[in-house]
Amino acid sequence: MILHPNILALFVSSLLVCLMVLYSSYYGIRILRSWDIKSGSELQLALERRTYLISTIVSYFLLFQLASLFLFISTADSICELFVGAMCAVGTLTVNQFGYPTLLLKLFTFLLAGFWLVLNRLDNHGYDYPLIKTKYLLLLFLTPLLLAETITQTLYFMGLKPDIITSCCGSLFSSSSRSIAAEVVNAPALPMLAGFYLSALATAAGGIWFYLKGSGGILFAALSALHFMISMVAVVSVISLYIYSIPSHHCPFCILQKEYYFIGYPIYLSILTAAITGVGAGWTARYRTIESLSEELPRMRATLILASLLSIAVLVAITSCYVFFTSFTLR
């Protein structure tokens, strides 16, 4: 095992966060069982007080998970020299089979937490806590995923022994190796770029329609989710090429580094924000009929849609700068 300070930091924070979320789940179960807004009993009052604790916990969790996501990638990048053949984080993550699953679980739990907070904010504005059951079911769904993430992260780090030969960007992403990553990169570049722009346009159009007409929420949520996946694929298969100005460098992590002006951060942040706000806005359309939310729902929906549109615009702007205003071309 590599006793690197960053790895210890990730362990400690993952463990603590797990404890926090497990604690919340325990109360989540009690809330799901005994919640009765009409009652004035002491149990009900205690449960209502407890919900404040849980929302505080999930808010902090979101922040810590973001820091942990960043540190995980950054650490994988900095220890790549310990492994022969690894040139950056991509190589380190493929040392054993737990690397990418950890990353994906971290990402997914972060998105779920963001989504939970959107629901929570909406629920708080309803005088009868209309979404309480949905919220806590979501929390119970999140918890095992978080546990899985901590376990895979532990297994990943325990399984790291320096000097293990691994595949680096070049061989992993070459057309000859058959793994998911290879397929992502083999998505032909220019058509993928066109696909990205189309998806952005469609999602934005869906958002504007939803904003103006108030209907088409589920469609917008679906489009946002799809756009999230397309953006991620696009970053790896074509956008990164423009950023690096090299037709074979597909690494999704190198764009987070200083040489490329840390452009990776705004790119990934805008993708994540667009996903959370877009799916959040669309999903909340289901609650149109709830009376206690009738005042707040349109307001929140508008904010979320605008945030989503803004994030989509930011990503399109950054991409277009690199595609149209640099001398590199794929043709």
Partner: protein, 377 residues
């Protein structure tokens, strides 16, 4: 939106005033918190800077070094091995190197003697490192005496003292001509200390190393990347070990923080009761606690990290020096290049602020859910 911002502003103002009203309790917490961050950051800065320095230095080392071993120990290498190696495809050049250690009984120090490829001192002269100059009180044009492999003393005139900038590697260095060194060390004319190789394609290091071992089984090729990797792992391991030890201190801190947070004095409890009675909601109090935690954490973090920075980079880690020096009498008086990374700062954050926040969430919430009518009774 403007209302929410104004509301937070009010709560923040109130919180800051409230922190200042309890200087004793908050002062103690801040002091301990800052100390923890200071220690952790110092360790991280120090090891990270050392690692960078070592890496920078190692970049200048040869790509492959070939040594010879006999009975598992390191021996001088015959010069005709170089011919064999030159014949391997992909090797551009093979050069012999002459160097070795020398123990000086007077100063209880070990020196490294090196024969350079170019600009060697004339026979009878040497260049010495700043550490040696300091310890033997020798300067330019002074004469120094050393006992050779046969016990006979030999005198050398100091041509120059190597500048202090590269202290990390040159503090204990003596640079000598080949003729002088062979006479001094007793290495025969047909042998060298080791061989250094230049290779055309870096991807072939391992292949070429394997070929060398097959052709010359008593040799041990060392690839530079292996050294880099090993040093890296070693530094990480060392600093990781310190952090594990540090965790005991962190635990103490966390218990202290818990105690401070849950031990609300009667006065504080009353104050929160009044706030709730006059119209503050649970989330307002939670925000108050959040700002309080943030103010203290941020102050501790900035103070701790700044102090650590100054400690490591301006005062050469005077607190760690005794531990690091050990038996070394030639400890270089070096200044590390200041370098910090977001990775380190995030690691510090996750190891200190996160435990603090997690332990204070529950007490903060307990404080925030005090019944408003409690103050009526």
């Amino acid at each position: 939106m403007a209302r929410s911002i104004e509301r937070q502003r009010h709560i923040l103002d109130f919180t800051l005033a409230s922190i200042l009203r309890r200087k004793g309790k908050n002062g103690a917490l801040l002091a301990v918190y800052t100390l923890i961050i200071f220690i952790l950051s110092s360790v991280l800065f120090f090891t990270h800077a050392l690692r960078q320095e070592a890496q920078a230095v190692l970049q200048g080392t040869p790509e492959i070094i070939v040594q010879r071993s006999l009975t598992g120990r390191y021996q001088t290498i015959p010069l005709d091995y170089a011919e064999t190696i030159r014949g391997i495809r992909g090797v551009i050049s093979v050069e012999p190197r002459l160097w070795g250690y020398h123990y000086d009984g007077n100063t209880l120090a070990n020196y490294t003697i090196v024969v350079p490829g170019e600009d060697a001192p004339p026979d009878g002269s040497i260049d010495i490192g700043s550490g040696i100059s300091r310890v033997r009180e020798a300067n330019e044009r002074d004469t120094m005496g050393f006992s050779g492999f046969d016990g006979k003393p030999r005198g050398f005139t100091v041509r120059k003292v190597i500048s202090a900038e590269s202290q990390l590697i040159s503090a204990d260095l003596i640079v000598m001509s080949e003729h002088d060194y062979r006479a001094f060390s007793g290495i025969p004319d047909n042998q060298a200390t080791d061989l250094v190789l230049k290779v055309r394609n870096p991807r072939e290091f391992t292949t070429i190393a394997e070929k060398i071992v097959r052709l010359l089984p008593d040799t041990r090729p060392i690839v530079r990347n292996e050294i880099l990797r090993t040093y890296n792992a070693l530094f990480s391991w060392r600093s990781g070990l310190i952090i594990v030890i540090f965790s005991a201190a962190a635990l103490a801190f966390v218990i202290f923080a818990w105690d401070k947070a849950s031990g609300l004095s009667a006065e504080e409890r009353r104050e929160i009761g009044i706030l709730k009675a006059v119209g503050w909601e649970t989330s307002d109090i939670l925000f108050m606690k959040f700002w309080e935690g943030l103010a203290i954490s941020l102050t501790a973090f900035l103070l701790g990290v700044s102090l650590a920075y100054m400690h490591v980079f301006f005062s050469s880690s005077f607190l760690f020096a005794p531990v690091l020096k050990g038996w070394s009498t030639l400890y270089p008086d070096f200044r590390l290049v200041p370098i910090i990374s977001f990775g380190q700062l995030t690691a510090t954050f996750l190891l200190t602020v996160v435990p603090y926040v997690v332990t204070t969430i529950l007490p903060s919430w307990r404080a925030a859910t005090i019944d408003p009518d409690a103050v009526m009774r």
